[in-house]
Symmetry: C2
Amino acid sequence: MRDVAVIGTGMTKFGELWGRSIKDIFVEAAERAIEDAGVDHVDSLYVGSMSPGLFVGQEHLGAVMADYLGVNPIPATRVESACASGGAAFRQAFLEVASGASDIVLAGGVEKMTDGADVIDVLATAADQEYEVYHGITFPGLYALIAKAHMHQYGTTREQLAAVAVKNHRNGAKNPNAQFRSEVTLEQVMGSTMVADPLRLLDCSPVSDGAAAVVVASLDVAKKLNKSFARVIASAQASDTIALHSRQSLTTLNAVVNAAQKAYKMANIKPADINLVEVHDCFTIAEIVVSEDLGFFEKGKGGEAAAQGLTSIDCGRIPFNTSGGLKAKGHPVGATGIAQIIEVYEQLTAKAGSRQVKNARRGMAQNMGGSGASCVIHILEAQ
Amino acid sequence: MRDVAVIGTGMTKFGELWGRSIKDIFVEAAERAIEDAGVDHVDSLYVGSMSPGLFVGQEHLGAVMADYLGVNPIPATRVESACASGGAAFRQAFLEVASGASDIVLAGGVEKMTDGADVIDVLATAADQEYEVYHGITFPGLYALIAKAHMHQYGTTREQLAAVAVKNHRNGAKNPNAQFRSEVTLEQVMGSTMVADPLRLLDCSPVSDGAAAVVVASLDVAKKLNKSFARVIASAQASDTIALHSRQSLTTLNAVVNAAQKAYKMANIKPADINLVEVHDCFTIAEIVVSEDLGFFEKGKGGEAAAQGLTSIDCGRIPFNTSGGLKAKGHPVGATGIAQIIEVYEQLTAKAGSRQVKNARRGMAQNMGGSGASCVIHILEAQ
């Protein structure tokens, strides 16, 4: 396999972009990434998107976006793994460049969620339709079950969950592309509207529109362009049962554990060698469980770590979701995995402004689909 | 890039499978393919499917199918390029094995179209929702425009269109997995209900349920298994404008021309070196246009060639759609591209029974999305 690098990035602001179409926002992100990379063409395009058919009545997004971006006749393919669609699209771009089939590939992600579809129903198509959704559960409920089990098993507290939201809003306030640039207090999180006990409104990532794109290239191309890039030192993906009730434990996400093991092995490093992590905090409990399953904290200690500030920027330990995460940056599902890569890239190329992690040399992006049935992990390294 | 081979195949019968779920049929096809390949595991899974969200309310098909097939925790990803989703999934499997990231990958395709959704509306999401579908056109109408233009420009006749359906039904009658195993006459095709002038009911591929899967492996693995396999000597994909009205010509499908050129170059062969072709005959006119754009017949002569029987089995020229094609075999959209690979594989490994093309050494599969905005082409060679 050839060495692969991220050489350019672009994204829209995440939020309620009512005046703009799914094509508009994808093209904006893609053009920015191509311009940032300084390339005059791309060989191929991947578009990560979870459910454009249900959200806006448009499938075939690969061809649609290639057309509106003006890059025909290059190959253009949509990739879908629910909320991990962006990470999965990045992985396909990585594999295509690694294989030698292409030198420069654009990997983008997009979702337009606020155009009128019933968002809860659409997102529920990422769970088991017959054995979960039909019986009435939706994603806040699934993650609430995980939270309840984690609290029961490890003594994780309501305050610890809230600490994740407080930290991610603090980071998001420093991110010009974030949907929410407002800080919140522990009291505000714990006093917000109940959604699915114990998860409250401020434990949940929002409904968002947005697009993100990165240009991936062979290391040879990256070096010739003579600009900053980050090397992709690991790409790993794993699956788990689609339904939560089929798992042996509610408090360990096996797809995360499996993908992480493969990623560390591929990069030949251990968790302590990572300087920052973007994780899939669709709900506050997700960040806590994932922080354990990635090996950064002992099982059951993720909540305590969050409350102690060990995952904050300048914490002296391991900053989580410097971008604001899904919680504050927003979660246009197909775009999320790509936006995570962008944050890691910006940190590794010292472009993260007031969110900058000092001496960031290696960063991880962990993207997840459903209640953890899919997990895609990438590790990037500064040049 | 490493050499890649198809080492096993499996599919369900195509048709109206009302009593079975999308999971059932995918698992049946996948298990058959794995058994046929004689492998004890697969490293990764791709599922080609166009619109399971709209058809059956289930996205996240990669993880769903990995779970129901019992192959967790392997990576599992859905790939979508409208009706070219199967071909695109096969291409991703090819790239993953070619890259060296995996040795054995399962590429499947599935669609469950008869469960109650408005099929015409769902299929229309493969066209430009804002500039085509909103104004009332659907796929029979788009291909009718292509047919009208081809008739006007090249003198293609109603009888020539019908000849494609007659030939494909004749082939399909010999295929135990085909939806329609009945032959039809020229008169029946030309007297069938008008759908979109000049296309009649028997010019159109049917609405189908079905699943198909193939096991792809490195050439090294294929050789060690000591059974019949076919080498993938070309994988190419191209895109075109999503909307028909944006093209310079209605009678040439540029994505087909571009993908074909890349495929011939990669395989270092010319059209005359191919012994059989599975093409995307969603409508009879599509087979005629594609037969020209692939370089088998001069532009404008595809209709004449079909009427003269040059594309029949044992025609002495180049058999098209020995499987019965989309027209007679059925067209569960996500499964179609994989089923094409299966027919080519069966021909190259002399397993095609009464449909067998003599001395078949190289075969092509041409899968298409929308009104030709996506095209994926693979060429396989007998060992």
